[in-house]
């Protein structure tokens, strides 16, 4: 039993493609070699002869590497990245911002988390837009669909899906601590419970909502492609 995947990746180790592309090429060529090898065994060739003939289809590995690079590299790296990550990421970001703005203007009243300090309420409190949270699974699903349709792998799909929470995450992890350090007024108004409610309302729950939509699409599309017609030997 040959490890064709290892053999191909070793022979084409200096293939100048981005990681995802290179992995796909290795998998595909290894698959072809395995099928050729199995077919030759079926025709009665010995294991040694079948291996030799299967590898004979490649000939010069360096020439193959150059051909693959020239056929894939020139146009593929940027547009693919744009299609699989940047485009869906900005679509989800813009849609989530637009939804939030519309809900803030026209939507129902926001829920204000009552944060208390001792016996009295403390202002300002945390604003939670529940209608906005309920739109996020659909936005996440759209982002995942665009990325998946462009051939995005799981990592690209889910990164694009949760991209809209990035500004809020940066605010909570970097912006707010800096503001607390620099501005005494902010420091007085931020309490630990408020910080965690805010983190949940603007980072964790939105991320979960976006990922739920994205996961549903990813799951559906992978099942759909499995059920698709596939030519086999």
């Amino acid at each position: 039993m040959h490890d064709w995947r290892q053999l191909v990746s070793a022979r084409l180790s200096d293939l100048m493609l981005d990681d995802d592309d290179a992995v796909q090429v290795f998998d595909e060529l290894a698959d072809h070699l395995e099928e050729t090898y199995q077919s030759l065994l079926g025709e009665g060739f010995s294991e040694q002869a079948a291996t030799r003939r299967a590898l004979g289809g490649v000939g010069d590995w360096q020439a193959l590497r150059r051909k693959i690079e020239s056929s894939r590299k020139r146009e593929s790296i940027m547009p693919k990245r744009v299609a699989q990550f940047w485009l869906p990421a900005f679509v989800t970001l813009l849609l989530s911002m637009a939804c939030l703005a519309l809900i803030q203007i026209f939507g129902p009243n926001r829920w204000i988390a009552p944060v208390t300090h001792g016996w009295r309420s403390v202002a300002p409190t945390v604003l939670v837009y529940i209608p906005w949270l309920s739109t996020l699974p659909f936005i996440g699903a759209l982002g995942a669909y665009i990325s998946n349709r462009a051939g995005g792998r799981t990592r690209a799909v889910f990164s694009a899906t949760i991209f809209p929470i990035l500004p809020y995450m940066v605010f909570f992890i970097i912006g707010l601590p800096i503001a607390i350090i620099l501005d005494d007024h902010v420091a007085r108004n931020v309490t630990v419970p408020m910080f965690f409610i805010g983190l949940c309302a603007w980072v964790i729950f939105p991320a979960a909502a976006l990922l739920a939509g994205g996961w549903a699409v990813q799951h559906f599309r992978s099942r759909h492609s499995t059920a698709g017609r596939i030519a086999t030997n």
Partner: protein, 110 residues
């Protein structure tokens, strides 16, 4: 046997024509072409995949990973609308070439 130069020119037409019948993975695609041309056209791995990738870049075909009925993960290629559009003029060009060659051969033999 057809020489390499002509093979290169016909490769795109062969791939598009075979994919017109439905999606196929690379190995099966090469087998189909070999079988349908009775061995006159055959693709080695080194010739097939750069050609497929180039055609994919031109958006004539689209490759996607799928799981086959026997559980194997394979990259299947299918014709895109652009590929379907490209097939017709390619066929017409080759038909024109073949009929021109036939006419030329008749003249030469006369």
């Amino acid at each position: 046997m057809i020489c390499t130069g002509i093979k290169k020119g016909t490769a795109e037409l062969a791939i598009l024509s075979v994919l017109q019948d439905g999606p196929l993975h690379g190995y099966e695609l090469s087998r189909r072409i070999e079988a349908q041309t009775k061995g006159s056209l055959s693709f080695s791995l080194a010739a097939l995949y750069p050609m497929l990738y180039r055609m994919e870049q031109r958006r004539w075909i689209r490759g996607a990973w799928e799981i086959s009925s026997n559980g194997r993960r394979r990259r299947c290629y299918r014709l895109t609308p652009q590929g379907k559009k490209k097939l017709q003029p390619l066929r017409a060009e080759w038909l024109e070439l073949f009929s021109a060659l036939r006419r030329l051969t008749k003249v030469s033999n006369a």
